[in-house]
């Protein structure tokens, strides 16, 4: 196997894509196709590299491989370390596929395509760095840096109505980031130098200091997840976004909160912070239930998808709190399928909403005139419910089982919330599939055959993941 600096490639390749995107020329004839092709190709090539990287790593969770280090500062000494295991590679792959679907979803949206693709590629580059970060400083750098392309994407292309909501969203995330920065610098200083993520729990500090540090860290990560009572600051933005690519990007943020928890979670929980964990679990289940209930009553499909995703994210978060590392790979597998499913759902929904708005139709029965869209939409909804159409089925089983064993009450509430969001999605599915008469002139247009083929290709990827998303690592 050639000695390729994979991490550097993952981070730099999208930046190269930005350069080519800037250089690409588009006019009225090409209508943004050139820059779109550049972005699409960049993501595809990065996916190829990720799969190539998979062949170089073992599938064990937690065993960091392909490590790279770069000395940034001599005094104070800051060495940026990167590495991956199968878990982070899996998430990387899932995010790439999700963004690929998102880019596909906006390919007919010609306005400001260049800026959109540039910020998306920048976001992708920073996300790759985040997922590969091994030490606290590089982790923090990418954790904070991704906020800027996120803000620009939402503000410029999200088409959200309430910009005040966007500001609040950013300030809220910024508060979390600054909390983390303070905690990271205190830990760095305490350790008199670079500190790897898996060494954090080995640090011994005073009781009060430990409580403050860990609280700050957990609050920072929670700021990425729509957690009660601050969920509305996130939901106003996340559910208000009309553009599918931007929606996908914005709703990937809770994933980073979960990933952060997983990476920072101490191997053995210090006694001083056990109560924080309990508090986290309580807040998580309250949030799950609350958001699920609101998703049930809310008529807006975007909010339903947002609540569906949030409840699942918190479910995965609860899974990652389980006192065993064994299930973390299952969390990764589920997240991999989950990201692809919700991206596909969002692209399909945005297509329907666009047709609906253009032809002034009601959402009821819109799918009965769109057989291709209807079939793939149904598939994705079923896959999202956890039926055996993707990796979520088996891996959710493991997570539910773990929750039932270690924390029965939490598990019951979590399951109730999952049932609520599932019924909301099923309700929406049937409402859209109801047979409704509409005039021939005003019939909604179905997705093209090419779009349908692309979506079914994604569905095949999901079906292949049903057994094991890392099936291509066998042998």
């Amino acid at each position: 196997m050639p000695n390729i600096p994979f991490i550097l490639v993952f981070i730099l390749l999208p930046l190269c894509g930005i350069f080519f995107a800037l250089c690409s020329q588009d006019n009225e004839k090409t209508k943004g196709r050139n820059v779109l092709s550049v972005a699409f190709l960049t993501v595809l090539v990065n996916i190829a590299f990720i799969i190539f990287a998979f062949l170089s790593v073992s599938s064990e969770y937690g065993k960091m491989q392909l490590q790279e280090s770069y000395l940034w500062l001599k005094n104070p000494k800051i060495v940026l370390s990167f590495g991956v295991d199968s878990f982070s590679l899996l998430l990387m792959l899932g995010i790439h596929l999700a963004l690929l679907i998102g880019i596909w979803g906006v390919r007919k949206d010609y306005l400001f395509q260049k800026s959109r693709m540039i910020f998306t590629l920048l976001f992708l580059s920073l996300v790759n760095g985040f997922l590969a970060a091994l030490d606290i400083i590089s982790f923090f750098i990418f954790f904070e840096a991704m906020l800027i392309p996120l803000f620009m994407l939402i503000g410029m292309f999200g088409e959200i109505k309430r910009q005040a909501g966007l500001f609040r969203f950013m300030i809220y995330n910024l508060c979390g980031v600054l909390l983390l920065f303070s905690a990271v610098m205190i830990l760095y200083n305490h350790n008199h130098g670079a500190l790897m993520l898996n060494q954090i729990s080995d640090i011994k500090m005073g009781q009060v200091k430990e409580i403050v540090i860990w609280s700050a860290i957990f609050l920072a990560f929670l700021s990425r997840i729509p957690i009660w009572p601050f969920h509305s600051w996130v939901s106003v933005v996340s559910s208000g976004i009309k553009n599918p690519l931007v929606f996908i990007v914005a709703n990937l943020m809770p994933l980073f909160g979960i990933y952060s928890f997983i990476r920072f979670w101490p191997q053995s929980m210090p006694d001083t912070i056990i109560f924080i964990v309990t508090a986290l679990e309580i807040i998580s289940v309250i949030s799950m239930l609350f958001i699920a209930l609101i998703g049930l009553i809310n008529k807006d499909i975007q909010y339903k998808i947002f609540s569906f995703m949030t409840v699942y994210y918190i479910f995965f978060l609860l899974g990652s709190f389980l006192p065993t590392d064994q299930v973390l790979l299952n969390v990764g597998f589920s997240l991999f399928a989950f990201m692809i499913i919700f991206s596909a759902l969002e692209v399909l929904v945005s297509f329907q909403e666009e047709e609906r708005t253009e032809k002034n139709l009601s959402a009821e029965g819109i799918l009965c005139k769109m057989p291709r869209a209807s079939a793939i939409f149904t598939f994705m909804v079923f896959a999202g419910l956890g039926l055996p159409l993707s990796a979520m089925f088996v891996n959710n089983f493991v997570l539910v089982s773990g929750l039932l064993v270690y924390n029965f009450n939490t598990a019951i509430v979590a399951l109730a919330a999952l049932v609520f969001v599932a019924s909301a999605m099923v309700q929406e599915l049937f409402m859209r599939r109801t047979k409704v008469e509409c005039s021939v002139d005003n019939e909604p247009m179905d997705i093209s055959k090419l779009d349908s083929c692309f979506m079914w290709l994604i569905a095949i990827v999901l079906l292949l993941s049903l057994s094991d998303p890392l099936w291509f690592m066998r042998g």
Binding site: Y61, R168, W228, P229, F230, S232, F290, L293, I294, L296, I297, Q326, V327, L329, N330, F333, F382, L385, G386, L387, P388, L389, F393, V394, F397, V398, V400, S401, G402, L404, V405, F408, L415, V419, F420, A422, V426, F430, R433, T434, K435, S467, D468
Partner: protein, 556 residues
């Protein structure tokens, strides 16, 4: 090998689904039937399913799970395999001729795929394969059903059942750390939440078997074509449900009254099925109520006479198909007149159908009586009695009595073509050779049926349209909507208004916004006039510095 057979059948099914033909559809449907029948006949001749065989493939290999997917044959599996084969061939056959079937090839292909999944359910050596196959089967049936209402009800009930099984098996795995069926026995003995686990299990079983209160998912099939309806009903409640019950019977030991609960449910299902068979105005609904009664019998036989159940399975399934085929003859003959209140007097034009129906009743009685023993006698007698009343009443309504059909329908009433009788002959003949009872029954039973059909006092109900049921609302769904969903939505709305809107937006956010606004305004005021505010700041700075000095001097 059975795996190879399944693979061949799967290939045929996939080819049919994905390569649709618009011309000579009936011919292609026949080709499909012939191909499947040939494959099964040939392979079963080479390797009969009674011989034990096992084929498996590694499915999941992670630190937490290590599972295989397998296909099995043997004495234990053969009855279910043959039962499935019977249902499949019956459906594929009727798929060729049934006039109201629109998408024959796609339906046929789906029947085949569902059969393959049924084999996986049957062969499940671990609860994960069982659960996976059941869920996939539900999805395929969802695809098969053409009507949205039928899809909605079917999915609602079966999805819930799948979730119940999911949670139950998660409990089992969490506690026993094993997904093999042996773990169920251990779990039943020392479950941490036995009542909860039993509730989950019995709920899932009740839905899958189409028992009372949970049968509406099957009932809604009355609006789709007979072939699809029949296939779905037999596969789900006569095969999948019993297989599930058979494989997970160890969970009866979760609570001491486990078997009693199932018996009570079965008894209610029997009574409910009888009521439906007597009072439903929809002919196809009556078939489904009949299946409900049969399913109740299956469930109870699995509990009380498990040892003999496998022997009885194939004949009983064939009886179900026979009776349903006999019951559908009037509908086919009357050009799809679905309402019984629009029939009557068909004996004048459908004597052959009537005779075949009587023969079907006879075969049913012979089969059931031949399997009667000390353990199951009361249940078989009860079933026979209930179905005897229901079937005679049905025959009386359709064939005897006043002609209630409108002129257009009456003009075209005739016996269906001979192709519809061939399966009846096959099934009837086959069952008669396998089962036999005292010769007196061969005379008594038909006479009793004819007599009750002709003279049944309940026949007058056929004329009283207002007595007949048009729609049956599911009590479970009503309960769910009124008692569970509505209050939940109300709570959700209240929470959204009080917390999201009032507390978060109006209190917290407003407070913060006001505070920041006050700060900004103060700053703007202080910096408005440089000449004036400069003095303020200057004096403040100098004064503060002076104060610091004097404070420090004093401190030291």
């Amino acid at each position: 090998m059975f795996a190879l057979t399944t693979l061949k059948v799967l290939a045929v099914g996939l080819a049919t689904v994905f390569f649709q033909k618009n011309r000579l559809v009936k011919s292609w449907a026949f080709v499909l039937f012939a191909a499947v029948a040939a494959i099964l006949a040939y392979d079963f001749e080479q390797n009969t399913p009674f011989e034990a065989s096992l084929w498996f493939v590694h499915w999941i290999k992670t630190p937490t799970l290590n599972l295989n997917l397998g296909l099995k044959t043997g004495m234990e599996y053969a009855p279910f395999i043959f039962g499935g084969v019977a249902v499949l061939l019956f459906s594929l056959y009727y798929n060729i001729f049934y006039p109201l079937e629109k998408d024959r090839l796609r339906a046929g292909g789906l029947y085949v795929l569902i059969f393959v999944l049924l084999m996986f359910i049957l062969s499940a050596g671990n609860i994960m394969q069982l659960l996976l196959s059941i869920c996939l089967l539900d999805i395929l049936i969802f695809v098969l059903l053409p009507e949205l209402a039928a899809k909605r009800l079917f999915l609602s009930f079966n999805l819930v059942a799948d979730v119940l099984l999911f949670i139950l098996f998660a409990f089992v795995w969490g506690q026993e750390n094993s997904l093999y069926f042996g773990a169920l026995t251990k779990y039943a003995r020392h479950s941490s939440y036995p009542l909860l686990a039993f509730s989950l299990w019995i709920g899932a079983v009740a839905v899958k078997c189409g028992l009372a209160f949970f049968h509406n998912s099957i009932l809604e099939l009355k609006n789709i074509s007979f072939v699809r309806q029949n296939f779905v009903a037999t596969v789900v409640i006569l095969l999948v449900g019993p297989i599930l019950l058979y494989k997970t019977h160890a969970l009866f030991n979760l609570v001491p009254q486990g078997e009693l609960v199932l018996k009570v449910l079965a008894a209610i299902s029997l009574a409910w099925g009888l009521w439906g068979c007597l009072f439903s105005d929809f002919l196809k609904a009556r078939i489904l109520y009949f299946y409900m009664m049969l399913s109740a019998l299956f469930a109870v036989l699995l509990v009380i006479d498990r040892a003999n159940f496998l022997t009885m399975l194939i004949p009983l399934i064939c009886v179900g198909l026979l009776i349903s085929a006999a019951m559908i003859l009037p509908l086919i003959g009357a050009a799809n007149e679905p309402l019984l209140s629009q029939t009557g007097g068909f004996i004048q034009r459908m004597k052959v159908s009537f005779v075949f129906s009587i023969a079907a009743a006879l075969v049913e009685a012979v089969v059931l009586l031949s399997f009667m023993n000390s353990l199951n006698q009361w249940w078989i007698v009860a079933f026979l009695f209930c179905h005897f009343i229901a079937f005679s009443h049905f025959l009386g309504q359709v064939y005897f009595g006043d002609v209630l059909a409108d002129e257009r329908v009456w003009a075209i009433v005739k016996n269906p073509t001979m192709f519809y009788f061939i399966p009846l002959l096959f099934l009837g003949g086959g069952l008669s050779t396998v089962c036999c009872v005292e010769p007196i029954f061969y005379i008594l039973v038909p006479m009793a049926v004819v007599f009750f059909a002709w003279q049944c006092p309940l026949r007058r109900l056929g004329a009283e349209k207002q007595v007949l049921i048009q729609e049956e609302k599911s009590p479970v769904l009503v309960l769910y909507k009124e008692i569970f969903l509505l209050p939940l939505k109300f709570v959700g709305r209240v929470l959204w208004i009080t917390i999201d809107f009032l507390f978060v937006e109006r209190v917290m956010v407003a407070l913060l916004r006001r505070f920041v606004f006050v700060l900004i305004r103060t700053s703007m005021f202080l910096h408005k006039n440089m000449r004036v505010c400069g003095w303020f700041f200057l004096l403040f700075g100098l004064g503060y510095a002076a104060a610091v000095f004097f404070w420090q001097k004093g401190a030291f």
